[in-house]
C-alpha cells in the first residue's frame, strides 16, 4: 500500500522558456531551463535574436563608413566600440593620434564606462527585487549622457571618434562640468553601498551564488569584471596599455572567489576608479590638435591588425584584414559579452530559478554585443 502511494506521487522535469520577451533577460535573449521544481538542472542560452551581420556589412563599407555601425554593437558603451575600431584601423594605417585626442578619448571612454556600469547596476538591483536603485542609477547616468551629448551631439550612439582622432574638440565648459560631475558622483557610489551593497538580503542573495573558479573563467575566455571577480588581475588597460593609460594611475579591483557578490563589488569599485582616471585626465589634458593627418580615402596597405581595449564588459577586440582596397577584406569582432555569457550554463547548475537572475545580472551582457 505504501509503495503504491509513493508511486502515485511522481514528479516531472519540465522545460521553462525564459525570453526572448522576459523582464529579466535584458534584451532579446532566450534561456531554456530544464527544471525540477524550483531547481535548475540545465540551462541553454539561445542566441541570435539580435544578429545583424555587422562583420559582413563591414566588408561592403569603406573604413570610414563602417564607424557608425560599431556604435550599435555594445550599445551601452558606444565610445569603446568606436575606440577599438579606430585603434585597429590606425594600426593598419600606422597613424599616431595627437596627445590631446588621446586624452579626450580616454576621458569620454571612462565617462561612458561609468554610464555603462550604472545601466548594469540599476537593472541588477531590479532583478533582485530592489526597484529604487534602478532610478538612482539612471539619475546619475542622465548627467553623464548630457555630458557626452554636449561633446558628440548624441546620447547613445556617439560616433564621436574618427580614424586618427576625434570628431570635434570639447565644448568650452566641459571641463568644469565634468569636474562638477566627479564631485557629485563620488558620494553617490557610497550611497549605493548603503542602499544595496551592505543590505543583508542582497548579500545573502549574491554571496556564494554562481561561483566561477579562476581556471574555468580563463578556460571560457571570460574577461572584464567577470574574470577579475574570480581573482585574476587582468585588465587590458594595465597588461597591454593602449592610448594614454600608462600615464594614468588607477587600481584594478579583483574579487576573491568569483561569486556574484565579487563581480558586483568589482564593478562598483571600477566606477570609483573611473572617476579617478577622469580627474587625472582633466588635470593633464594637453592642448594641440585633435586629428592626425588622415588621407581622405582610407586605403591601408595589405596586411592585418588586431586591436583590443578594456570595454566595460571586458576584453574587446577588432581584427581587420586589408587587401589594399578601401574596404576591409575581413573584419572580426571579439565581443566580451559573448564569451562571458557562454559560462552561464556552468554557473547556474543546481541553483534555484531566482539565482539565475543573480548570476545572469552579475555577468552583465549586452545582446547587441553578443549577437553582433
Amino acid at each position: 500500500m505504501k509503495e503504491d502511494s509513493a508511486q502515485d506521487f511522481i514528479t516531472e522535469e519540465y522545460l521553462l522558456n525564459m525570453g526572448p520577451q522576459h523582464p529579466a533577460t535584458h534584451g532579446v535573449l532566450r534561456l531554456v531551463l530544464r527544471m525540477d521544481g524550483e531547481n535548475i538542472l540545465d540551462l541553454v542560452p539561445d542566441l541570435g535574436y539580435l544578429h545583424r551581420g555587422f562583420e559582413k556589412i563591414a566588408e561592403n563599407r569603406t573604413y570610414k563608413q563602417f564607424l557608425p555601425f560599431t556604435d550599435r554593437l555594445d550599445y551601452l558603451a558606444g565610445m569603446f566600440n568606436n575606440h577599438v575600431y579606430c585603434l585597429a584601423v590606425e594600426k593598419l594605417l600606422k597613424i599616431t593620434v595627437p596627445p590631446r585626442a588621446e586624452y579626450i578619448r580616454v576621458l569620454v571612454s571612462e565617462l561612458n564606462r561609468i554610464a555603462s556600469h550604472l545601466v548594469w547596476f540599476g537593472p541588477f538591483a531590479m532583478d533582485l527585487g530592489a526597484i529604487t536603485p534602478f532610478l538612482y542609477a539612471f539619475r546619475e547616468r542622465e548627467m553623464i549622457i548630457d555630458l557626452l551629448e554636449s561633446v558628440s551631439g548624441q546620447r547613445l550612439t556617439y560616433s564621436y571618434f574618427r580614424i586618427g582622432g576625434v570628431a570635434q574638440d570639447l565644448p568650452d565648459d566641459f571641463i568644469v562640468q565634468a569636474k562638477a560631475f566627479c564631485e557629485y558622483f563620488k558620494p553617490k557610489v557610497d550611497e549605493y553601498d548603503t542602499l544595496l551593497s551592505k543590505n543583508i538580503i542582497f548579500i545573502k542573495r549574491t554571496k556564494n551564488i554562481g561561483v566561477l573558479p579562476k581556471e574555468l573563467a580563463i578556460d571560457y575566455g571570460c574577461s572584464g569584471p567577470v574574470l577579475r571577480g574570480s581573482g585574476v588581475a587582468y585588465d587590458v588597460r594595465k597588461n597591454e596599455p593602449y592610448s594614454v593609460y600608462k600615464d594614468l594611475s588607477f587600481d584594478i579591483p579583483v574579487g576573491t572567489i568569483g561569486d556574484s557578490l565579487d563581480r558586483y563589488n568589482v564593478r562598483i569599485e571600477e566606477m570609483r576608479q573611473s572617476v579617478r582616471i577622469i580627474e587625472q585626465v582633466l588635470e593633464k589634458l594637453p592642448g594641440g590638435e585633435i586629428m592626425a593627418a588622415v588621407p581622405k580615402v582610407v586605403k591601408p596597405a595589405p596586411g592585418e591588425a588586431y586591436a583590443r581595449i578594456e570595454a566595460p564588459r571586458g576584453d574587446f577586440g577588432f581584427f581587420i584584414v586589408s587587401d589594399g582596397s578601401d574596404k576591409p577584406y575581413r573584419l572580426k569582432i571579439r565581443a566580451p559579452s559573448f564569451s562571458n555569457l557562454s559560462v552561464l550554463p556552468e554557473l547556474v547548475k543546481g541553483l534555484k530559478i531566482s539565482d539565475v537572475l543573480a548570476v545572469f545580472g552579475s555577468i552583465d551582457i549586452v545582446l547587441g554585443d553578443v549577437d553582433r
Partner: protein, 354 residues
C-alpha cells in the same frame, strides 16, 4: 448647533442611530414590516463599508505611488484630479475597458473563479474590524480568528489562479504563494496569541479596550510579538522583500501573469485591501486601535495609525531587495516561528508570576 455637530463627529454611532431611527419612523408610518427594514439596513451598512474601503484602497494606491516616487526622486502621478488623487480611478476605468483575455487551454472555470475568491476574502475580513467605538459591522467573540481565517482563504484563489492559467510561471508563482502564506500564517497567529493571553479574549473590541492609555498599548508589553507580526504580515501580503510569488523579474508577475482587465484589477485591489487589513490588525492589537490622544475623533486616530503602519510597509517595499524562496522559508520556520513560541512562553511566565 456647532457643538452638536462636533459631538456627532466624535460619536458616529449615535449619528447613525439617529438617522436609522428617523428612517425607521418613516418606514413604520408607511406600514412596512420592521424585519425588512433591518434586512435593508444590513445591506446598506455593507454597501457603505464596501464603498468606504474602496475609497481607502484607492487612496492607498495613490499614497504608495506618491511615496515611492519621492523615495526614487520622482514626482509620481499628479495630473488626474488634485495632486493626482483620481489617478487610481482613471486606472480602474482603464482596466474596466480592457479585454478579459483567457489563455488558450486554460481551465476556464478555475481561471474565472480565482479573482473573485481573492477579492471577496480580502473584503469580507473587514466585517470584524472595529474602526471606532461601536463602528464594527459584526462584533463576534472570535474576531481575530475570523479575520485570520478569512484572509488565509485568499490563498486558495491565488493557487487557483496559478493552476488555471496554464502557464508555468503562474503555476510557480501560485505554488510559492501557498507555501509562503501557509508558513507565515503560523508565526502571524502565534505572535498575536501573546496579546490574547494577556487580555483573555479573542474579541477585537475588548483587546482594543484593554489599551486605553498610551503605555497600555501592547507594542510596549509585547514588542517581540509586534516585530514578528510585522515581518510575517509583510510576508502574508506578498510584498517586497517577500514578493516572491509575484517576483516580476523572475516570474513575470507570477500568478496574475495571465490576467487582464477587471480580473487583474480584482487581484490588485485585493492586494491593497490586504495591506490595509494587516495595518488595521497591527493598529487594533498593538497600537491601541481607536484610542488616541483626544482632539480628534476615534476613527480618525484609527486611520492615522493605520496609515503610519502602511507607510512602514511602503518603506520596506521600496528599499529592500527580494529574498530567495528557500531563505524565506528558513526565516519563517527557523527564526520567526521559534521566536513566536519563545514570546508565548515568556508571556506565560509573566502571567504566572503576576
Amino acid at each position: 448647533m456647532i457643538t452638536v455637530c462636533v459631538s456627532y463627529m466624535f460619536n458616529l454611532v449615535s449619528l447613525f442611530d439617529l438617522i436609522s431611527n428617523l428612517l425607521l419612523n418613516v418606514w413604520m408610518n408607511i406600514g412596512l414590516p420592521v424585519i425588512l427594514f433591518e434586512l435593508i439596513k444590513k445591506f446598506v451598512v455593507a454597501g457603505v463599508m464596501f464603498g468606504l474601503l474602496s475609497v481607502t484602497v484607492m487612496f492607498l494606491i495613490w499614497l504608495e505611488r506618491r511615496i515611492c516616487a519621492r523615495f526614487q526622486s520622482r514626482v509620481g502621478p499628479n495630473r488626474v484630479g488634485f495632486q493626482g488623487f483620481l489617478q487610481p480611478v482613471a486606472d480602474a476605468i482603464k482596466l474596466l475597458a480592457k479585454e478579459n483575455i483567457v489563455p488558450q487551454d486554460a481551465d476556464r472555470l478555475v481561471h474565472f473563479l480565482a479573482p473573485p475568491i481573492v477579492f471577496t476574502a480580502a473584503f469580507t475580513a473587514y466585517l470584524c474590524m472595529p474602526f471606532g467605538p461601536g463602528l464594527i459591522a459584526l462584533d463576534i467573540n472570535l474576531g481575530i480568528l475570523y479575520i485570520f481565517s478569512i484572509t488565509t482563504l485568499g490563498v486558495m484563489g491565488i493557487l487557483l489562479a496559478g493552476w488555471g492559467s496554464n502557464n508555468k510561471y503562474s503555476l510557480l508563482g501560485g505554488m510559492r504563494s501557498v507555501a509562503q502564506i501557509v508558513s507565515y500564517e503560523i508565526p502571524l497567529i502565534l505572535s498575536v496569541l501573546g496579546v490574547v493571553m494577556l487580555t483573555n479574549t479573542l474579541k477585537i473590541t475588548e483587546i482594543v479596550d484593554a489599551q486605553k492609555s498610551f503605555f497600555d498599548w501592547f507594542i510596549f508589553r509585547q514588542p517581540l510579538a509586534f516585530i514578528i507580526y510585522l515581518i510575517a504580515g509583510t510576508a502574508e501580503l506578498n510584498r517586497t522583500p517577500f514578493d516572491i510569488p509575484e517576483a516580476e523579474s523572475e516570474l513575470t508577475g507570477g500568478y496574475h501573469t495571465e490576467y487582464s482587465g477587471i480580473r487583474f484589477s480584482m487581484f490588485f485591489l485585493a492586494e491593497f485591501t490586504n495591506m490595509f487589513m494587516v495595518s488595521a490588525i497591527a493598529t487594533s492589537i498593538f497600537l491601541g486601535g481607536w484610542h488616541g490622544f483626544g482632539f480628534l475623533p476615534p476613527y480618525v486616530w484609527f486611520f492615522v495609525k493605520c496609515f503610519a503602519v502602511v507607510f512602514l510597509l511602503i518603506w520596506f517595499r521600496w528599499t529592500f531587495p527580494r529574498m530567495r524562496f528557500d531563505q524565506l522559508m528558513d526565516l519563517g520556520w527557523k527564526a520567526l516561528t521559534p521566536l513566536a513560541f519563545v514570546n508565548i512562553f515568556l508571556t506565560g511566565i509573566m502571567i504566572f508570576i503576576k
